[in-house]
Symmetry: C2
């Protein structure tokens, strides 16, 4: 039987021992987050994910969502009740802004909870996940009235939110948006058009759904510079905050998808729906990017989360399944065969998964802490570095972690053999669910282009050079730590390769933009391998300091670190060789020749 | 709309220009296979795959198979009629043994047809695919009477065949089989037990189903040395060849799988079913391996085939979909945006796919030709080399091509963006279908172990040293061909890496078998990259000889070859670094720590 156990111990290691979040008690919210409270939250969140969300995961996949004849959507059995519990227990407002009803705790703690929710039930967790992004956009770009009207009711999930960007003719290229907005005398707009791939566009979980919609005001400039952002509630809101009349948008259909069946992916038809401008006219993209960057971290997290639940079940299977004898002689001679975990190639799949998962978890939480620092640090220099890092790391997190997260689910399916290909073990669902994360919130190719085209060059490359400097400092400070040498040398090597790739891009990407495009995905992967190498080196240092022979956790961390350095990191170097070959080999064929 | 176009031109290139099969007219069957006839066969087969099988591919996925209350199974709408056409047009007996009703043409030509059938409808093509394996086993191990009774009626698909190996407690480790066979006075056996994952175990396509079943004769030795093979027909066969009474086995259920929904994956319950021994008592594995090796080539082919149909549709999508402008300025200024094929990162996905597909096709057909030589060459030395190569290349073909075939389908899904994740474009089905190929007929991990544990060492490493020698000869013979240098140098480099990996294995794998196990998958991939590099080098030589400026086919072949050498081959080297780190890092964690 599939199971999920939230990785509380590993999260505690990263939060308390690696990142030492208690050292940031000078920041708002952090002073409230005592280690004890953080542990209580992690344990409570774990229980909720394990006992409430996980049992609904397969139900959601099998039943899917149903669009009824009247355009309403029914979510899978049990989702409504679980959502109610989630809202009532105030799990969703944990790190939200206290000014609008949130609890103001560190975002980094909330990210750990989000991993649990995503792992135990990805399709379900997307409903509150999108809401979070939507109110962040309203907080960033909306008027005070909009914040009071909507955000206060969205923060705990009572009302939900959606992002409406894509149309049939445009996904990546939002300059092609056709949905139009006609200004009305009362200051509102009438919104008309079709939006597709709207996650949670219609559902039966929340009282109201607050759609954030990109549209073009009549007469607006063409392209991306004529796009405005609107807030368009499913039910209009009366002055006293109660629900008023039903707005004129409808769910026109649900997509038949490979996975995340429990999440309603809607075609949304807006027909003179009443909406209000968020922020300035024609500047909708700016606010939408707040939402997208936020969402991209959440998607990277999904890659990690699906990898983790797949890994946990693969590990169980490897311990239970008896098949063949160890190559070095029977390990369990009293049984008809040995558990397959004795076989090196089975170990390989588990260790690959584990080394990715724990490295990815550290990377996400390390980045999320910069998210807190960006918004809360009193020190301008710290805020600047944090902002640089958030910008630089977001596409890497999204692209690298979803790609390798998906591969990890596939590897864990493989470990199961034939039964992994059936619904029985759950893992085939985790793989199908994980697959979307490489696509939405900007395909991984778009992340790679964002990285090489925008993020690297910003402020003269300040962010990446700060990152190189940080790695160099770490290596320098620990150069006399012989026990850490196994990690420092490979880290130094991959860091040099990343710098070589960066220099190649700077020299060749400007001369021919296609060189930058051609190198982008390889560069993103090289960056990801480097970032995880740095995480593993830092975790190794901490583990060496903490290990005292009583808790095998630290020794296991060091074993996994060594595996990452020896077995996985060489793959990073291959990306450098590939990217340096430039665009010519890629662009030579005529389009018709394919 | 999804489409499939059989790659006839590329197959002609490989068969006529690269392999020059017309030079083998001294072999039985080859003399009949004039270039014109081969082309006619390819074109006819293409038409059948495109017009008959492909339109049923999505139907099969959506409808799946149904088990009726009486244990019969209904295949998807249209399958029965398509199967009838396949049988009547004698497509299935093309390369079968003329002694039992086959047409005796070269197997290598048949493999090309199989690619088309698998690409256009993998679930459907598995029905005749398994039949082929089953009668090969009967030809290899059965009595003359069994051949006359069964094989003659299976060769064109009128009767079908299945392989019954797996039981709930054993897949890889067939020594654990419990199904029992009790000898009867009339020379038959009563077979009782449960078999699972039986592809086509029940269906409504063929008149009779001939099950080949592994079972243990009462009192047989334990383990793999007590397994015998039985032929157990669904309907007993009267003396005159007509169908007699229904045998006592039933389909007890169908698996709910991630893909290949159009193929019935059956639980088969044998309840004193009447069967006959094939070959000798307790020596069933030997004959079953004939069937499995055959089947493994077919599974490798599935990896290629699903990659190709995914690639074709991705290329169409890339030409059609308008999104964003080229990085180097508008390519189609008259349109609202450029077709995405102008973007380097989209090209990367297409070129990765193409370089894999064309390399894999050459590798499969090159190997299949050795299959013909193994059985048909009058020259003992040639037969020996062919037999060595078939043994050595089979696990590489199965493991490497299914792994990369699956990755290619995923990459082609990615190219589509969001719509790729829905059923609309077909590609998500190709990915789900392709996923099984990494598992069945021996998981890819088992292939890797077979390669390093059995195939490498056989006859003192004769096969691999012959292969190294052949590559060295090729490099030597072409060393003054400056136009080929771009391919020869990388080939030399990867061949040296493969040799280094081989030597490492010979030195370290014997001392500690876990080192061999730990290195096996990396070694298999290193081998695969090397084999495809050799194919690309040979194809480049041929293309250089043939190109005359009029047909862009050859120029395109050279462009793709260069891409393979520059962009893809570096990944092979990373596998060498990984494998040389040995088993220690892999085996260090306690089983409970995972």
């Amino acid at each position: 039987m599939p199971r999920y156990k939230a990785p509380v111990r590993d999260m505690q290691f990263v939060l308390h021992e690696l990142l030492s979040i208690e050292n940031y008690s000078n920041l708002p919210g952090f002073s409230d987050a005592s280690p004890d409270l953080v542990d209580q939250i992690l344990e409570g969140g774990a229980k909720f994910a394990e006992d409430v969300l996980f049992p609904l995961n397969k139900v959601g996949d099998r039943e899917g969502c149903t669009r009824n004849a009247d355009g309403t959507v029914t979510t899978p059995t049990g989702f409504k009740d679980a959502y109610k519990q989630l809202v009532e227990a105030e799990w969703l407002s944990l790190s939200a802004d206290p000014e609008y009803g949130g609890q103001g705790l560190p975002a980094v703690v909330n990210v750990a909870l989000n991993e649990m929710q995503s792992a135990s039930n990805m399709a379900f967790s997307m409903y509150p996940g999108l809401t979070h992004g939507a109110y962040q956009a309203l907080l960033a770009g909306g008027s005070e009235e909009q914040k009071q009207t909507y955000v206060t009711r969205m923060i705990n999930g009572g009302w939900s939110g959606t992002m409406n960007l894509t149309e049939p003719q445009c996904g990546t290229d939002l300059g092609l948006i056709k949905t139009k907005a006609i200004p009305q005398e009362d200051g509102s707009y009438k919104i008309t058009g079709q939006k597709i791939w709207i996650s949670g566009g219609e559902q039966d979980l929340s009282e109201n759904i607050i759609h954030l919609v990109l549209a073009r005001i009549e007469g607006a400039p063409e392209g991306i510079k004529g796009i405005s952002l609107f807030v368009v509630p499913k039910y209009l809101v009366n002055e006293d905050g109660s629900l008023g009349e039903r707005n004129t948008m409808q769910c026109g259909g649900l997509e038949e998808k490979m996975g995340i069946h429990g999440n309603a992916t809607c075609v949304m038809n807006y027909d003179d729906a009443k909406g209000w401008l968020v922020g300035e006219e024609h500047k909708g993209m700016r606010t939408m990017f707040v939402m997208m960057n936020e969402a991209r971290l959440g998607v990277g997290l999904q890659g990690l989360a699906q990898a983790d639940i797949a890994y946990q079940n693969a590990a169980d299977f490897a311990r239970d399944r008896l098949q063949s004898r160890s190559l070095t002689g029977p390990a369990a001679p009293e049984k008809p065969a040995d558990p397959i975990i004795v076989h090196p190639d089975v170990r390989r799949m588990l260790m690959d998964s584990r080394a990715f998962i724990e490295g990815a978890r550290a990377f996400i939480l390390w980045t999320a802490l910069y998210g807190d620092l960006e918004h809360k640090s009193p020190d301008e220099k710290v805020r600047e570095k944090a902002s640089d890092y958030m910008a630089l790391m977001t596409p890497v997190l999204k692209g690298f972690l979803t790609d390798h997260g998906f591969k990890t689910t596939s590897e864990c399916l493989q470990l199961h053999g034939g039964i992994g290909y059936t619904e029985e073990m759950g893992v085939e669902q985790y793989m199908r669910d994980a697959r979307i994360a490489l696509i939405y919130e900007g395909t991984n190719g778009i992340q790679a282009l964002d990285l090489v085209g925008r993020k690297l060059a910003a402020n003269g490359g300040r962010a990446i050079f700060t990152f190189f400097g940080e790695i160099d400092d770490f290596i320098g400070e620990n150069s006399d730590n012989d026990d850490l040498k196994f990690a420092l040398e490979p880290l130094k090597d991959i860091r040099e390769k990343l710098q070589e790739g960066t220099m190649w891009l700077m020299q060749n990407g400007m001369a021919n933009f296609n060189n930058a495009g051609a190198a982008s995905t390889d560069y993103m992967h090289l960056f990801g391998y480097t970032a995880l190498a740095y995480m593993w080196a830092m975790m190794s240092k901490t583990a060496l300091e903490k290990k005292d022979g009583s808790d095998p956790f630290y020794e296991n961390k060091l074993i996994t670190a060594r595996y990452y350095m020896e077995r996985i990191l060489p793959r990073g170097g291959a990306h450098l060789s590939s990217l340096k070959t430039g665009a010519d080999n890629m662009m030579a064929l005529e389009a018709e020749a394919f």
